[in-house]
Amino acid sequence: MQEMIELTIDDEVVSVPAGTTIYHAAMEMGVVIPTLCFHEYCSANALCRVCVVEVEGSRVLVPACVAKVSAGMVVHTDTPRVRSARKTILEMLAASVDVSDSADVLRLMQDYNARSDRFPASIRRESDLIDDNPMYVRDYSKCILCWRCVQVCAQDAQYTFAINFTGRGYETHIGTFYDRSLTETTCVFCGQCVAVCPTGALKPRREWLLEEKDHAHTR
């Protein structure tokens, strides 16, 4: 039988199998910890830090999507400190990239009263639309760097390794070898990256064309 671990989440005692993450343990008892970069079918890397929670005895906040439960752990998922970190991350994000197409981000911003104009006069991470293949278009001005596309293109699913990161820090982008067009890479156009993208940065051509038409109408 699997070892069970008992811990306290938001004042309620819960028992889960060893190796469970705080996120999944909370889920067991119906507490949904907000996430952004996390995706059930991708490796979790704790990038966005929207899932942070307070764990008693820990100096810093703890990312629930990767942190494993331990016996006697006392977790608080919705304290002012936690809410403030989530809100600030979302506000800084909205000041960096175009989140207007990302239902996930918009919903979270609403939940946390995050204001998109909290950080005025910010330098945004903008790039030109890349339309270099028949299947999909890439608009990295909307990319939040959740890593999902890179991961499904690599070991999480397809093993094609067509895309990776370029640059670092705020200037990190998703790109190909020496910025080659996708048709000159190992890309097999499986579409998995498009499927996991939470922001509208990667769009199937048909969807993009339909939206373009809509825009043309309203213009």
Binding site: I89, L145, R168
Partner: protein, 560 residues
């Protein structure tokens, strides 16, 4: 500029025993030395040979600021843009020469610092520069001072300490003593000495070793962290350039303690002279039977490989450093697992700072008790302090823990330069805090500094006189973190950028009344939610200044 010749590539790569992905950075270094940049065909060839996906090779090339993807049109001079080197506007470079602003080069005691890629110093004099450029530490001998001379006993003599000289100064007797002990006895000595890490985090060294020695996997590594890139630090450079065997002895002892077969030294690429010095010293040690098979006929076998960084401060963070040796982008890992259970190549690993390792031979030479008699109860031994900025004698100072900041600045470094009054001292580095005149009598120990709310960090003391505009210094520190953030986690990737934008407003006198609150929200979020120490400390100096001089963030004004 002629086109790069592809035929030159394979002879160069053949010289390296390319061994899979871990050889990626060494291969890229070889290519860049050959062509001056990384041409696409060369990257493709390396990718094939090492079996690394093309996109990932490009990901690595573009992560490290040392690697270029385009040929540099002309030779350029690298000029340090960090605070100690820009106090008086930096170096004036004549028109027509390409100048590249680079982060702290670890030459702060010789400010303003600059370098010319591999070109002789005479060439720089030919350019009519007013000041001779220190191409490396050796050209300008660093000032070494302090109240004791233990770690620095062979430093500052203007020459590299040879194996013979090192032995004459008592070197390698620590190793001999260590090899007579069992590893658990040896670890007990290090624990009893009270030694804590000198790389910034002050973690007890013996405890770290013990945990790696207890790991279940028997393939183990020890690493010397010589990435030293914190603005204001240069102690490790001097230790390595002047007395390389000191660190090597410490690393061998660490290897014996935890049962490692191999050690690595990871050194920032800018320390090219120290790199050569270490390679030579390792050869000396091998020839003398101190390194390699059956060290000093003890039955213990161990060797050391040196790896160069490629321009990324974050690679000083231990897990990012592992990634870098493994041939990847230098992104810090999520902990746990901790290095002592799963470090380099997933194996139990001990990583220590250069200065930490230099303390090890001393502990073994004189015994834990004698060692811990120096310093304070909780901070034992001696500490190296890197003094730079507005003092009469910038340099490296060795003191037993517990002396006051005032003693260091006024008695040892000769007080303030230019007959100006003391303004502030940035202690700990970019990830440090400010000490005011009222705090000058604080004792330099981990515990005293902690209660004063100023991190001792790696021992940086950057002094500013009363005329200096702290706003400019804060802006530069903020820029440093934004440029060096790896970009992995959102709080730091975004927060370091937002700090820069706000500090620009502070400097330009365009501050918005909400900006101080914004800065503290960013600080709180980065400190609380970032993955690694870079993001967790990127707001420290700014918040420290905010606490001491809130007026600089609230209104437009002249001076401080």
């Amino acid at each position: 500029m002629p086109d790069p010749d592809p035929l030159l590539l394979s002879p160069v790569l053949d010289q390296y025993k390319l061994a899979g992905r871990t050889s990626l950075l060494p291969a890229l270094h070889a290519v860049q030395s050959l062509y001056g940049y990384i041409p696409e065909f060369a990257a493709e060839s390396i990718a094939r040979q090492l079996k690394v996906p093309l996109a990932e090779v490009y990901g690595v090339v573009t992560f490290y600021s040392h690697f270029r993807t385009q040929s540099a049109a002309t030779r350029s001079i690298q000029v340090c843009k960090d605070p100690a080197c820009r106090l008086d506007g930096g170096i004036k470079i004549p028109d027509g020469i390409q100048v590249e602003d680079v982060p702290c080069m670890g030459l702060c005691d010789m400010a303003p610092a600059a370098a010319v890629d591999g070109i002789s110093a005479d060439w720089t004099i030919d350019l009519g520069l007013s000041k001779r450029l220190p191409l490396s530490g050796r050209m300008h001998k660093s000032h070494i001072g302090g109240d004791v001379s233990i770690l620095t006993r062979n430093c500052g003599k203007g020459q590299v300490t040879t194996l013979l000289d090192y032995r004459a100064s008592g070197g390698y007797t620590g190793l001999e003593n260590a090899l007579r002990l069992t590893p658990p006895e040896l670890i007990a000595q290090v624990k009893a000495s009270g030694l804590v890490g000198r790389g910034g985090a002050a973690f007890p060294t013996g405890v770290k070793w013990e945990s790696a020695a207890a790991a279940s996997d028997s393939t183990r590594y020890v690493i010397c962290n010589a990435d030293e890139s914190e603005p204001g630090t240069f102690k490790d450079r001097i230790l390595l350039e002047d007395d390389p065997h000191h660190m090597i002895e410490g690393l061998i002892i660490a290897g014996y303690a935890i049962g490692a077969q191999k050690g690595y030294v990871y050194i920032r690429v800018e320390y090219s002279e120290a790199y050569q010095v270490i390679l030579h010293a390792l050869d000396e040690a091998r020839q003398a039977g101190i390194l390699g098979k059956n060290i000093l006929t003890s039955g213990f076998s161990f060797d050391i490989e040196v790896r160069q960084g490629a321009g990324a401060y974050v690679c000083g963070e231990e897990t990012a450093l592992f990634e870098s040796i493994e041939g990847k982008r230098g992104l810090p890992r999520i902990k746990p697992p901790f290095p002592t259970t799963a470090g380099l190549f997933g194996k139990p690993t001990v990583i220590n700072n250069v200065e930490t390792l230099c303390n090890i031979p001393e502990i073994l030479r004189e015994g834990a008790q004698a060692y811990s008699a120096r310093g304070t109860q909780k901070s034992t031994g001696t500490k190296l302090f890197c003094l730079s900025g507005d003092v009469v004698r910038p340099g490296l100072y060795e003191l037993p823990f517990g002396a006051s900041l005032r003693h260091l600045i006024e008695d040892l470094a000769g007080g303030m330069a230019n007959q100006r009054g003391f303004g502030a001292a940035l202690v700990g580095g970019a990830a440090g805090g400010f000490a005011t005149a009222a705090e000058l009598d604080t004792r330099l120990s981990f515990e005293d500094m902690r209660s004063a709310g100023i991190p001792l960090g790696a021992g940086v003391v950057m002094v500013f006189d009363e005329t200096r505009d702290l706003r400019l210094i804060l802006l530069r520190l903020a820029q440093f973190f934004a440029e060096e953030s790896c970009g992995k986690c959102f709080p730091c990737q975004l927060g370091t950028q937002r700090q820069v934008e706000i500090l620009h407003r502070v400097v330009d006198g365009q501050i918005d009344k909400e900006d101080p609150t914004r800065l503290s929200e960013i600080a709180q979020t980065m400190t609380d939610a970032s993955i690694c120490g870079l993001g967790q400390s990127a707001a420290m100096a700014i918040q420290s200044a905010n606490k001491r001089w809130p007026q600089i963030f609230t209104a437009r004004q002249d001076g401080r």
